[in-house]
Symmetry: C2
Subunit: 184 residues, 2 copies
Amino acid sequence: MRKNFGAKPWVYPQPALMIGTYDENGKPNLMNAAWGGQYGPNTVMLCLSAHKTTDNIKTSGAFTVSFATAETVVPCDYVGIVSANQEPNKMVTAGFSTTKSEFVNAPIINELPLTLECKLLKFNEDGKVIGEIVNVSADESILTDGNVDYKKLDAIIFDPAAAAYIRLGEKVGNAFKDGAKLKS
Amino acid sequence: MRKNFGAKPWVYPQPALMIGTYDENGKPNLMNAAWGGQYGPNTVMLCLSAHKTTDNIKTSGAFTVSFATAETVVPCDYVGIVSANQEPNKMVTAGFSTTKSEFVNAPIINELPLTLECKLLKFNEDGKVIGEIVNVSADESILTDGNVDYKKLDAIIFDPAAAAYIRLGEKVGNAFKDGAKLKS
C-alpha cells in the first residue's frame, strides 16, 4: 500500500549547496540552497528566486558552489536562514572567510573544501541560474591519492521530507560495474 | 592548499534518480539518471539527452521519479547501464514490476518505495525535461508516524568523483533551527 502526499518538493535527497558571490563592492556573501543540480556535462542549475545572491550573480557574472559538511552544518544553516539584506556581516558572524577564485569573479569559502567555480551563462526562460563550471577545486585535506575522498569531505545532504541534514554513510559499491549479479 | 581539477560535473552528491515511463504501446521502461534536481516548488528538471526514456516522455507526456535504494542498487545500476533500445526486457530482467500511477500516465516501480508522479510541462530551451510533480507516493513500509523515514527508505546517492553509490548515514540535525549556537 502507498500513501499519497500530494505535490511535494521531494527530490530525494537534495544537495546542501553553498553559493558564494561578490556584491558590487566586492564584499563576499554566502547562501544555502537545496534546489539545484547538475544541468549538463559542465553546467549547473540553481533555483534561487529573489535573494542578495541573485543580485550579486547578475552584477558579477559568477558564483561558486560549495557543499555543506557535517563539521560546518551550523554556520551553513545559519547563512541559509539569515539574509545579507538584513544582516550584512552574516558570513563573518558565521565564521567563514574567503579567497578570490583564480578562475571567476567569486569567492572560495576557505572552510568549505570542495568548490565548483562557475561563470554565469544566463538566467534561463524559467528564471533559473545556469552556470558553466570553469574549475573544480578541492582542499588537499579531503584528497586520498589525489582524488576527492567522500569520507574526508563529509558532505551533508538535505532531507526534504524531514527538513533535516544527514551525512553520508557507507559505500554500497559500483554494483553492476563491480561485477554484482542480478538475482536469477 | 587547493588542487584544481578543471571543469568536472561534480555537483555533490547527486541523486540516483530512477525514471519510469511507458512507451507508445504502454510498455514500462526504467532508467537511471544523476543529472537533475528540484527545479521549483512543484517542478523537477532532468538532463537525459537521447534515450528511450526521452522518446517515451515525449509520447506519454508523463514520467515518475523514484530513488535508488541500497537494497536495489544492483538492478538500479543495471537499468542505467543497459538501454531498452538494445535490451527491451531490461526491467523484467532486472526484477522490477510496475503499477500504473493513479495520477499520471507513467508506471510506479513497485520495488522503489518513494515516487514523484510527474506530468511533462515541456522540454526547455536547453532540452532539459521539466515536469510538474502532481503527487508524491510512498510505500507504507518506509513511513514512521505517517512520514517518510530516511532510514527505512535507505536511499543511495551517487558520488560523481568516485563514480560510486553511497547510502545515507546519521542525521546531523536541523542545526541552527534546533538551537545550535555559532562559535563565538
